[in-house]
Symmetry: C2
Subunit: 362 residues, 2 copies
């Protein structure tokens, strides 16, 4: 049984209910829709001719897109999001899917479910399209200020995701950086390079933004600040390109006919570049399978996200992850040099103190 937050996302609850129906029909997945019972039934009852096994759990509150995660968590204990996560905590369901406020989902998931043993910080992982297929990028925005050892864990999480969910034999791990040479990078990525290079992961070195799309790596690791900027840019760019192309086309009659003839090619390409196709972004490292779907998810994206959730459950991802972290972290041979270590730990202890005073995630 998988809980689906029926009130999250731009097209909720209509698209969510429709997506849940498709997932139940195509994959035989048992689903409970969480949210405003009356509204959900209005969409569900007339569409569910097949009497598919979809339950409804009433939740009277709803987290809006712009809300501050910590506030909505405190102020709305009966939101569809929190109720879903509590059902997962109580083992009533095996996974939660939500297309709602990503920050709030992450914050609530950590508060309610906690992180997995051995995991320092959970990360949001997304899949982006490439010429060769699909590439996992993480962290996509959970942690804006990172320490090097967190990125090692992100790499391990991505490695396991690629291996057991995407079935890549020996996933190629790359570090997003400002140049391909090993010496490139800021303080963080230089240190992370050394750590990954001395791990037993299949580390293929630094990768520059544009090369990700050529599918040179299966997993690309970065801090959440860079990851977020990268993904938003990627998401927006295809739109801008098409917009500008339309402007150019409108200047010429000949191009207009061309554009008409090319329409199927454009549509197919946009589908390939469409993030929502790829079945949601798992919150890796949380103690419970949680999948974020894009806020603007149409029903087929919700269906794909539910399928991804089931994959994570069936493959027992969250049981394997702490074992893999322990095993792979132990194999890292690199230890920072003494002077670096001294300054680093000193600086680290200040930041830690500050971190503990502040909240874990904003």
């Amino acid at each position: 049984m998988i809980a689906v937050d029926a009130m999250g996302g731009d097209f909720a609850p209509g698209a969510i209910v429709k997506g849940a129906l498709s997932a139940a029909k195509e994959f035989g997945i048992k689903i409970v829709l969480v949210g405003d019972e009356a509204r959900i039934s209005r969409y569900l009852s007339p569409s569910n001719e097949l009497q598919l096994p979809i339950d409804i759990r009433h939740a009277p509150q709803r987290v809006e897109m712009g809300e501050v995660p910590s506030e909505s968590f405190r102020q709305k204990p009966y939101s569809s999001m929190s109720v879903s996560l509590k059902m997962l905590y109580e083992k009533e369901v095996k996974a939660v899917v939500s297309a709602g406020n990503t920050g709030a989902f992450l914050y609530s998931a950590i508060k309610i479910l906690n992180t997995l043993p051995k995991v320092k910080r959970p990360a949001i992982s997304t899949i982006i399209p490439s010429i060769k297929g699909r590439t996992i990028v993480l962290d996509a925005g959970a942690n804006v200020d990172c320490r090097p050892e967190w990125l090692l864990q992100f790499a391990i999480m991505g490695h396991l995701y690629a291996k057991i969910i995407l079935k890549k034999e020996r996933p190629k791990i790359a570090l997003l950086n400002n140049g391909s040479e090993p010496t490139k990078g800021n303080r963080l990525t230089q240190e992370v390079y050394r750590i990954l290079d001395n791990s037993s992961l299949n580390f293929v070195g630094n990768i520059e933004g544009n090369n990700i799309f050529y599918g040179e790596a299966d997993v690309v690791v970065c801090d959440g600040f860079v990851g977020n900027i990268f993904l938003k840019l990627t998401e927006g760019f295809a739109n801008i390109y098409v917009n500008m192309l339309k402007e150019e086309v409108s200047k010429r009659a000949r191009s207009g006919i061309g554009a008409y003839l090319m329409k199927p090619a454009f549509e197919n390409l946009n589908r390939r570049l469409d993030f929502t196709e790829y079945g949601g972004a798992p919150l890796l490292g949380v103690n419970g399978v949680c999948i974020v779907a894009h806020g603007s998810s149409p029903s087929y994206a919700i269906k794909n996200a539910i399928k991804t959730a089931e994959d994570f459950v069936i493959k027992d991802f969250n049981k394997t992850l702490p074992e893999e972290i322990e095993r792979l972290e132990d194999l890292v041979t690199y230890r920072p040099s003494k002077r670096r270590w001294f300054w680093g730990s000193l600086r680290g202890s200040f930041s830690k103190e500050r971190d503990e005073k502040e909240e874990k995630i904003e």
Copy 2:
């Protein structure tokens, strides 16, 4: 007189000589081509039917694209790059244009010319195309680990660039961030937000990667690590989009005809998205006008970069910049809070010590 590094760039010296000839012809700019005299003459003599005022200065060495900046600087004192910069230092020329190794150019420029008074760190500024026109993005890669006050200076440099070179009345300054709300960001951008918000610049707030292309800001400020990743991605994305579209087109005869008819629209769009069109990237904050042209610059890009160099000279940009920095920095009302200031200065002093031991730019 402007010195042009004739040996830098993928198509040197052919494209460089051709670009210099166009600049001399179209704008009447006096140019000295620096590099291997014999090779330059081979391209220059047969093309210069108009007897345009182009000199050659022999320089026997050449900096290659992959070289480490500090090493090439030490090992090749007679490279076309270093000789050009020394001519600028000796006031034989008023500006230098190079399409060579950007890191080496920046490193050599700072070593030979030094930074301008009041400038903490020079920045590479680039122009990217947007739906409304052009947007300046800086730092594009000179400084990978930045302190908040450097980004204030980048904002001031960008402001002046937009105002006196691009002739924008009251340039809109934005901060590249992982969300549009003022609370978003990592430690660096949160601090920079407060500083810019309390300055007298026309600060319009945070901007997300995809919105840059809608032309919502005239100047976008970021650290050099993020800036570099952002620009490489932007540069590469149009190529990837077109590649994928070609794949889709090749699957359908109808699309093939469409693509043929759309060819002029594609070509025009690619020209609009072509960075090289925009006349090079100035190294702002260096004591001397230095313009980087893209390594793969064709001749018209070299011509545009020479024109940009002349604009900077005529508008006396480098005389105005230190005055503007002094004036605008004094108007900033924000001072970091005491606790933050304490930890900040403590951490700052460590990093400074480390910085001084390491070299200024790698």
